[in-house]
């Protein structure tokens, strides 16, 4: 499959993969263009260090290129790329013994942009308590919320594919966290009253 440079942006991932496997390096360039930013975000969310995230992202694409012949098309290509990124990030975390922390501060920033002023107030008041709330999250839940946050189009089935778990597990974990967060907010509101 030899694709014209102008056509590249229109073809689907599978065609790009076939084209790369036929020696078309422009097709690989298109793959980088499509996924580099979101993979970088995902890795950064996982490892928290921008420079390391950049190196890992490069490593992800080099591995992706070298192992491209093993891609069978059984899962979505994007899921396969995220799987590589996830594995690289976990390797990095293990090597550096880093603990994935969620962005409490940034969560505040986001919330402070919300139209509800009481919510903004509550967030500022309960910083320490949110920290303890987040500590109880397991690795899979953290990865689920990272992946869900990355892309609006990312469905639970795609996340399940990347994390190699059931869709129901992903959905349950995500909604349970959501309910827990709502419950936490309600308790805070009651206390404030």
């Amino acid at each position: 499959v030899l694709l014209d440079k102008e056509m590249l942006c229109e073809v689907d991932d599978m065609q790009l993969v076939k084209s790369v496997l036929n020696g078309n390096i422009d097709s690989f360039n298109e793959i980088i263009y499509r996924y580099e930013a979101s993979i970088y975000k995902f890795v950064l969310a996982m490892v928290k260090e921008p420079e390391d995230a950049k190196d890992i992202t490069q490593d992800v694409f080099i591995t992706l290129y070298n192992k491209l012949y093993t891609y069978r098309g059984k899962s979505k290509f994007s899921s396969w790329v995220y799987q590589i990124a996830r594995n690289k990030s976990i390797d990095y975390i293990r090597k550096n013994k880093r603990i994935i922390k969620l962005n409490i501060e940034e969560a505040f920033d986001i919330s402070s942009n919300e139209p509800m002023p009481e919510q903004r107030y509550e967030f500022k008041e309960t910083k320490a308590e949110i920290e303890s709330f987040l500590k109880c999250l397991d690795d899979i839940t953290r990865q689920i919320i990272i992946l869900k946050a990355l892309d609006e189009d990312m469905k639970f089935c795609d996340i399940a594919d990347i994390l190699n778990v059931n869709v129901s597990t992903v959905k349950t974990k995500y909604y349970r966290l959501w309910d827990k967060y709502n419950k936490y907010l309600n308790e805070k509101r009651c206390k404030a009253l």
Binding site: I32, F61, I62, I110, I145, L150
Partner: protein
């Protein structure tokens, strides 16, 4: 859509997990119902907050495309057919490994099965050896020896084989000889009434000699093959000195006396498979006269001419 259905589907709606049709219905309901609109705002706030927890803000992203393209081997997939083939095999290496394991397992199992089959065949052959068969080459042969363990013993067939049991106490029971490990030389016919008749024909395919003995001999004689010929011995129930009890013998020409014994009857010689045998007998007393079965031995000696008459060559 009512408020209950709306609240049930609200999380899925915000998470983008609903179909377009349902999404439209949800949007319509939000625009119409203030209460549900409030609920939506609250849930959406939580959703955004959770998203905010997950991802870092103000990401400063610069593409590393150039570095990546510099690091990869651009010729990796721009290659010959043989290299593509090697990628294909590497890609399917697990399949091939599993296939190889399956083939090895099949080979191992089939060789096992073949061995088992051979064993069964060998067992089958040994069974047929247990079944008395005329013409088997043996050293010690007696009709009683040929009685297989799973076939009723000859002494149970008193009516059909009166000679076998007519010899009162002196007659060795055929059953008592079943432990003898010597190979059989007699054929048996297993009739539907479970009675066994023993064939009294001695057959030696190796030497090409056959003869028929009287019923009274069954179980009471032994044939010994020697390099110089074949000796037929009386088999007493009470042990007798070794080498005693010779009834008659077939001696290869040049090994024995040239003078024939008249007591042996006719023929005097027989040619089997190109070898000439002289039919001979004991030149001395043959069996101790103080042995309690001496009379039986004498009777056997008297039967010799009739047996010699039946000697013939077989192919």
């Amino acid at each position: 859509m009512n408020c209950r259905t709306f609240s049930k589907s609200l999380k899925d709606y915000i998470a983008g997990e609903l179909s377009e049709d349902v999404n439209e219905a949800m949007e319509k309901h939000i625009s119409r119902c203030e209460k549900c609109n409030m609920l939506y705002e609250s849930e959406y706030g939580s959703y955004k907050a959770i998203k905010g927890m997950a991802l870092p803000q103000n990401i400063d992203f610069t593409s590393s495309r150039y570095e990546i393209l510099q690091s990869i081997d651009k010729e990796r997939y721009n290659m010959s057919f043989s290299k593509k083939l090697s990628f294909y095999f590497r890609r399917n290496s697990i399949k091939y490994a599993l296939g190889a394991v399956a083939i090895i397992a099949v080979i191992a199992l089939s060789s096992l099965a073949i061995n088992q089959f051979k064993n069964i065949n060998m067992m089958g052959k040994s069974n047929t050896q247990d079944v008395p068969k005329a013409g088997s080459s043996v050293e010690n042969v007696s009709p009683a020896d040929s009685t297989p363990k799973d076939v009723p013993a000859a002494n149970t067939n008193t009516k059909d084989v009166p000679a076998t049991n007519s010899n009162s106490k002196d007659v060795p029971a055929n059953k008592s000889n079943t432990k003898d490990t010597s190979q059989p030389s007699k054929t048996q016919e297993n009739k539907s009434n479970n009675q066994v008749k023993q064939n009294n024909v001695y057959n030696n395919d190796k030497l090409g000699i056959s003869f028929t003995v009287p019923q009274s001999w069954i179980g009471r004689y032994t044939v010994k093959e020697e390099t110089y010929g074949v000796n037929v011995f009386f088999k007493p129930t009470v042990p007798a000195p070794e080498g005693s009890g010779l009834i008659f013998c077939l001696i290869k020409e040049g090994y024995g006396d040239e003078e024939f014994l008249d007591s042996m009857g006719d023929p005097k010689t027989i040619v089997a498979k190109g070898v000439t045998y002289h039919i001979d007998g004991p030149r001395d007393i043959g069996f101790p006269d103080d042995h309690k079965e001496y009379k039986d031995y004498q009777k056997f000696r008297q039967d010799v001419p009739s047996v010699v008459k039946t000697i013939k060559t077989v192919k």
